[in-house]
Subunit: 357 residues, 3 copies
């Protein structure tokens, strides 16, 4: 195990799961591990989201083993009651609340079907920084959602998502079906908090999972547009068209299947991630059964990733000092990790400036 502990971006929104994961029931106290911290999530009777450290300030009992009381949560070790602002409202047996009896809270926002928490100072939380996705309730789309956990460092997941050349190899039985994904050159563009990438695939067979739906001889164009933002949110329009004759830019074939996937990856700690994702089609190109097929394929494919990422993690821990060589497909991962590291450096130097000031 590496001794170095990961430093995570603090001024950043991290996905804490699907909104439907946190209900209004009396037992709905949900705990998520995010960037090394355990975060309690619950809803007030009005449905508002509350996020706070899952740790009683008295003797560290998890509040998630507690009890919801209206908009508050009671620690069920010694009965201390905390409001949604994290301030202690009651210590049974005491008239006064001891100073400091507060639980750190986090800004929490529900958007596009996901719950987002801001790890840094809640006062600085800017909802405009939440990534733009298409939620499962969007009236123009038919999407199904899912989640998995992978034992890897989130930087490896970034490298996985910033370079789709691996579709040809890891996903040959699911999303892929030829080596085309490893031959094309994506077009990357840096964003303030991530990268934007376009892939144009021309005249290829249908993706393997959909092969049986088409004439075997048919060829297709695929236009892909990805936005990847920190920590690791992957938003992709993936359009399958009939083979066109355009020689540059997007394909001018007929749009056969207009798909959209929203994927948010949250580092739990140095060595594991939670992965929340959806996939589906626009209503315009939907047909019966297609989203169910995509949903099953998506899970199969992400379990393919899990296998390779967990094997990779094992070898990286086993050979911590082994050199790595770079290949052409590292351009996307390199850009995205550069953006992440710049933001981390900025936070570190802001922190020094604050400390000195």
């Amino acid at each position: 195990m590496p001794t170095k502990t990961e430093t995570f971006l603090q001024n950043c929104w991290y996905c804490a799961g699907w909104g439907t994961d946190v209900g209004l029931g009396s037992r709905d106290l949900v705990v998520r591990k995010i960037a090394g911290r355990s975060i309690l999530l619950y809803r007030t009777p009005q449905g508002a989201l509350v996020a706070m450290e899952d740790r009683c300030p008295h003797r560290s009992a998890p509040l998630s083993l507690g009890r919801k009381e209206g908009d508050a949560v009671r620690c069920m070790y010694h009965g201390m009651l905390f409001g949604p602002d994290g301030r202690c409202r009651q210590v049974p047996g005491m008239d006064k609340i001891p100073p400091g009896a507060n639980v750190p809270t986090l800004a929490a926002v529900e958007k596009d079907g996901w719950i987002w928490v801001w790890l840094g100072d809640p006062a600085t939380a800017d909802p405009a920084l939440i990534c733009e996705a298409v939620g499962p309730a969007d009236p123009d789309w038919v999407l199904k959602t899912n989640a998995i956990r992978i034992q890897t460092n989130y930087r490896q997941e970034i490298a996985n998502l910033a370079d789709l050349s691996h579709v040809s190899w890891v996903h040959g039985e699911t999303f892929g079906g030829s080596d085309d994904w490893s031959l094309i050159r994506p077009r990357h563009k840096n964003l303030p908090r991530g990268i934007e990438t376009r892939y144009t695939v021309r005249g290829v067979p249908a993706p393997n999972f959909a092969k049986h739906l088409f004439d075997p001889a048919a060829r297709f164009d695929i236009d892909v547009h990805v936005t990847l933002t920190v920590p690791c949110n992957f938003i992709m329009s993936f359009r399958i068209k009939s083979a066109g004759d355009a020689t540059s830019g997007e394909s001018n074939g007929d749009l056969l299947l207009d798909t959209f996937t929203s994927q948010a990856v949250t580092p739990r700690d140095d060595g594991s991630i939670d992965y929340y994702f959806s996939w589906g089609t626009s209503k315009a190109t939907w047909f019966p059964g297609i989203v169910e097929l995509m949903h099953a394929t998506n899970l199969d494919a992400f379990l393919e990733d899990k296998r390779i990422l967990e094997g990779q993690r094992e070898r990286q821990l086993q050979y911590p000092d082994a050199p790595q060589i770079d290949i052409v497909h590292d351009a996307g991962p390199g850009r995205m990790l550069w953006v992440l590291d710049k933001l981390l450096e900025q936070e570190a130097s802001d922190h020094v400036a604050e400390t000195v000031a």
Copy 2:
């Protein structure tokens, strides 16, 4: 995981389980982990208890994988035979016993149904320091025994047992039934090796586990007397009376149920404890089925403790530097941990004095 390793009191009796755990059978070699050491327990054919390190001095094979031969134990790796004094009696293939071929032994005493071992120099072991309990064979009591293991540090178990305010919250479904336990002020008194605590609860509903036995409107007084001694032995008289009219001291109601519980907690290492306990009633207040009900309730309640203590342990390891705030109910835990730490300091300074002398 914290890097600091717990230092345990050496001049102290630790409970090694119930006497019935160690039988006279030829295979009855029992091993217990106590304060970081693995201790072998067995009985001679006359029934005398033997306690020694569970480690052959030759190449460290566990003697508990060995064979009983009369009052001796044979290591079943190379056949070395050790008497109950830990001295090697035979090395098969050698005429002479090599110097140093001894296993450290520990003083072991059976009292009130429990086995106790003294971690320090056996010559200094004073049976008068063993806590006073009521054993399951006591003719005046009807008691049932049990044991569980909890993944926590024993200091957290001390804090749990030195403050019964948690009964209202952790044990609301079992021992509790109202918030009264968190409103009363116990009366603590320091002892040379622990604390004595009295709780007086007045005019409360029946404890939840016994509610069905009484008129719902009935109110009760409860007089509690606890002796808690190092490392973490909790001896409690718990008397349920009809509501009386005394305004100070013990209740003057009629004694309805006179219960007694003996609980010994043994730290296995930094992060786990073995917990040996009994509970029951005096023969005078016994009625059919009551001890079976108390036995089942006791296990339920201790599993409630286990859940909260293991959650707490997890958060304490996760947030090793987080500040803790104190509340009024920490008085008992604070006193008991102060007594423990004083004894630990005394041992540390005695050790320095010996080393210098």
Copy 3:
């Protein structure tokens, strides 16, 4: 856990299993952990063995999760293709192979039914250093093979195999049957890379596993000849004869059962070993059912060793600084560990010399 990491002999052949473990099938990519490294094994279509580090030099994905293509293996993360010499043949999407895109290979040899890999520089691998065994295909023998894993350090397994006195105690129910094994004096002789040991057992009852095959009153002689070489290869001729009257040297009784066992122990890392073994009889002394009986007994006996070795390992980790006393039976283990340590010192000083030169 001990912080010191084991240093393993590099200029040494380590057994990587039975030849039949690595087939010609398209999915036959086998990974073995050997001395801290993960080694991929496969066969070319011609059956030649290939051994290389199980780690892609790009981003450390395990090649054992890849795909066989002719005599090459493709990493199924980004499609890089490696020949049996470890050199990268193709990076899909690139015209040129980046410098350094090689996987370290190891010399691999199949001999006597086993696969052997040389951890050091393949150019220095000398097949003459592979131990002499009798393979399961030998026409003069009837042998059955097996394998187990034990959680111990290989030095403890060396100590186990270099001293058969433990047969009396650990294997009383299987190979043993009396305390004779702990009373005799074996004759050891140092070899350049191990030791040779002879045991002569005279006038003993039949080994326990074979007792039912003989008259209970019958007595036997057993002549044993062991060669033990680094890292921990144990080759033994074990001959059961009728009791003779020779007073020195080998027994002059009639040869009743001429058995041979080949055992190769490979350290996986500091705390676990893989153990590949066979046992059986010469065709001349074979009779129906005997090898099946020996096969079952051998596994039983090695599980007896596993239990004691894993218990020993646990105590050694728990008491890292406890002194150990020596007994007469440590002569063999002491010699063999001395030979191993001399070779390790030699490698360390050669390494310093190379570094300085």
